[in-house]
């Protein structure tokens, strides 16, 4: 098949591009101390939290945005962004779905998230973030009976100040990088999860994020703590409506796993990628890091990334505890003018630590995608092991795939393996499938899903189905 034909099918419309007509309580664009004081006051935060934010802001002012990533985008004007937006009437939050603004429910419907059904049928507690304020939280009772805390981070700051003081910023320091400092200064909401010792969270926890108000950056902050022998599976999914302005998204996720704890964090990311010229897509600068503090603790990151104009994201594990385990399974799909620089860092500090990295990158259209991964073995990490597999699939001949693997080995007893492949989606494979009567579109989906199988099987069941569907939508028309 000719590559021009491939190009034709690369054209597609963002299926979830629509704007909900809900008035937002938005402050004017711009960032200074008064904005941070406004956010903090709006959320009724204690003084120490405000101080924390202001300190982050002071540090941010002295920092520069990183430029080492293989990404090309215009400078972001941080004074052009509005840093707070919440649906009206934040005081009288709905107590049940019946009280929720029907427009909002409609929005969820359009997104394919029938909250009531999904929450009830799938047994998933949903902490839905609409713009920056949590709108509804379900299944709180069942969770609290198990001793699990699952709430918005704003609530946690008020209700569990000791936990917040102990853990917030303990994995990702405020000034870890430019975007974490910004986030620490202006974060508006996010999720907080605390699973006490010995408890396995009775259900999968899920949050749907969504950016709505125009020109509003969204800065989530998520903190998950699993005490000794505790376990939780957390699902994060997001999607955004069509917009002309570039929207900045700089989230921070911190995971803490104590002895024998296990945290499974799964993401399906579907931010608006921009139109075919790359206009209007989300800029996604995310810092996700897990601290495997306890011996034999384990953290597993699984992500399916299909959206955003710019993605800058490296979910990482600090393997501090003896025999702790870090995993990273990733599928990243870029199409159109999307650019992604994504990967992971596995920092082996403890003895006998193990990490696995499986990264599958699919590039189509004019997109550019890089895998950037660091495997660092510290001097005390006796017998540490890493396995990295990093595969790229190209669709068409105008996209790019790049691999930047970094290895720093400080202990001679460590074993580090790296495998990498880059292949072009085979015209022979497509012809073979079509010659069996399978349409070209289905054939592409079949081949791509096959390519991603190793990662999809790591996703929780219902997420895997969603991920496959999302992949198909994203690559709709990637081949002609």
């Amino acid at each position: 098949m000719a590559s021009q034909e491939m190009e034709q099918l690369v054209q597609r419309e963002y299926k979830q591009g629509f704007v909900t007509d809900i008035e937002s309580d938005t402050i004017p664009p711009g960032l200074d101390e008064s904005v941070i004081r406004f956010i903090s006051a709006k959320k009724g935060e204690p003084e120490w939290m405000l101080e924390w934010r202001l300190d982050a802001y002071q540090q941010w002012l002295k920092m520069k945005a990183p430029s080492w990533a293989h990404l090309n985008y215009p400078d972001i004007d941080y004074q052009a962004i509005s840093y707070f937006s919440a649906p009206k009437r934040p005081e009288d939050r709905p107590q049940s779905l019946d009280e929720v603004d029907p427009k909002l429910l409609e929005t969820y419907e359009k997104l394919g998230i029938p909250l009531h059904e999904r929450a009830a049928l799938a047994g998933v507690a949903v902490d839905a973030v609409f713009d920056s304020v949590s709108v509804t939280t379900t299944f709180k009772k069942e969770l609290s009976e198990a001793g699990v805390i699952f709430c918005s981070i704003s609530d946690a700051i008020k209700d569990y100040p000791d936990l917040i003081k102990q853990y917030l910023g303990s994995v990702v320091p405020k000034a870890d990088n430019y975007f974490t400092a910004l986030n620490a200064a202006v974060f508006t909401d996010g999720s907080f999860v605390f699973v006490p010792e010995g408890v396995t969270c009775p259900m999968e926890l899920s949050t749907y994020f969504r950016i709505n108000a125009a020109n509003t950056g969204q800065f989530e902050r998520t903190l998950i703590i699993c005490e000794k022998q505790a376990q939780v599976s957390y699902l994060e999914g997001c999607t955004a409506p069509q917009r002309d302005e570039n929207q900045l998204h700089a989230a921070v996720v911190e995971l803490v796993a104590l002895e024998d704890a296990y945290i499974k964090y799964s993401t399906v990311q579907n931010w608006y990628p921009g139109d075919e010229d790359g206009k209007g897509g989300i800029y996604n600068f995310v810092t996700k890091r897990a601290d495997c503090r306890g011996d034999r603790s384990k953290v597993s990151w699984t992500q399916v990334e299909t959206g955003s104009a710019i993605t800058w994201k490296y979910p990482s594990c600090i393997l501090r505890g003896k025999d702790s385990v870090g995993e990273f399974y990733s599928v990243a799909v870029t199409n159109g003018r999307q650019q992604a620089d994504t990967g992971t860092k596995m920092i082996h500090i403890g003895e006998g630590t193990k990490s696995t990295i499986v990264s599958k990158g699919i590039s189509a259209g004019n997109s550019e995608q890089s895998y950037r991964g660091l495997v660092k073995i510290g001097p005390r990490a006796k017998g540490a092991r890493n396995f990295t597999q990093c595969d790229s699939l190209l669709i068409g001949d105008r996209c790019g795939a790049h691999t930047f693997p970094y290895q720093e080995i400080g202990n001679a007893t460590a074993t580090v393996e790296h495998e990498a492949t880059t292949s072009k989606i085979g015209e022979d494979q497509l012809f073979y499938c079509r010659q069996r009567g399978i349409s070209e579109e289905d054939a592409v989906n079949m081949i791509v899903n096959g390519f991603c199988k190793d990662v999809f099987q790591e996703l929780p069941m219902e997420f895997a189905v969603e991920a496959e569907a999302l992949l198909n939508v994203t690559l709709e028309g990637a081949v002609g």
């Binding site: 073979y432 499938c433 079509r434 069996r436 081949i447």
Partner: protein, 249 residues
């Protein structure tokens, strides 16, 4: 059923087929033989719709329809199926998934619904057994790590499930030992009936001992220079292609 008239085909500007005529009626088995580079595989590839072949003149009609106007998958669904010389590997895609998707695509084109799972599994098991293939084949990725013989058997398995009207086989015998060849031939022969035709391309007379053709055509330098019945194969075996080349020169 299939009529090829004065077919001229070029690949990257070089003319490979130079006015080929061929008529295949239902129920018939045709074999195309010829030396390397004569254009044997080009013919089946063009009928199947593979990219990179430019038809500069001539027509191909199938049941009166212009094949060249049909998309690759439409041709397949209409019953034109090609068994590949080198079936491609598709990592991560289970064989059973490909089979089911292909069968359902065909059923959809015929206005039938998706095949119910139990019915499908029954059908597959039966065909697998016939091709002396283990059920584990279904769970393996398409052609990945298959031996040459396994790949070819898999091609025939797909034919048995999809029941094409015109079975095209491109050097299906290449790389097969005699036992595998027998199984493949058994599969092809089981497909023979009065409604179905077979067009096979081969280098060797050996295949024709197992799948006995009604017609043999000798393709040299882009044209069919001689047609005959199965005895022609024996003549070729005895004399090679040179005598025909001289005849046409």
């Amino acid at each position: 059923m299939l009529v090829v008239k004065d077919l001229h085909v070029s690949v990257e500007g070089k003319e490979i087929l130079k006015g080929l005529d061929l008529t295949i009626n239902k129920g018939e088995v045709h074999a195309i033989m010829g030396p390397n580079g004569a254009g044997k595989s080009t013919l089946s590839s063009v009928i199947a719709g593979k990219d990179g072949y430019e038809v500069t003149a001539g027509t191909i009609t199938y049941k009166g329809e212009d094949v060249l106007e049909m998309a690759v998958e439409e041709r397949a669904r209409a019953g034109l199926l090609l068994g590949f010389q080198y079936p491609v590997e598709i990592p991560g895609v289970k064989n059973v998934y490909l089979l089911k998707a292909a069968l359902n695509a065909k059923r959809e084109a015929e206005g039938l619904g998706e095949i119910p799972a139990p019915e499908f599994m029954k059908l597959i098991r039966e065909k697998l057994a016939f091709m002396q293939m283990d059920a584990s084949f279904l769970q393996r990725a398409v052609n990945e790590g298959f031996s040459g013989g396994e790949k070819k058997r898999n091609e025939i398995l797909q034919m048995l499930v999809l029941e094409p009207k015109l079975v095209m086989l491109d050097e299906i015998d290449s790389g097969l030992d005699i036992d595998a060849l027998k199984v493949v031939a058994k599969g092809v022969n089981s497909l023979r009936n009065e409604d179905r035709a077979v067009l096979m391309v081969t280098h060797y007379q050996r295949l024709l001992e197992h799948i006995v053709p009604d017609h043999i055509h000798v393709l040299i330098d882009g044209r069919i220079v001689k047609s005959g019945d199965k005895s022609l194969a024996l003549e070729l075996e005895a004399h090679g292609y040179d005598w025909l080349q001289e005849e046409t020169a």
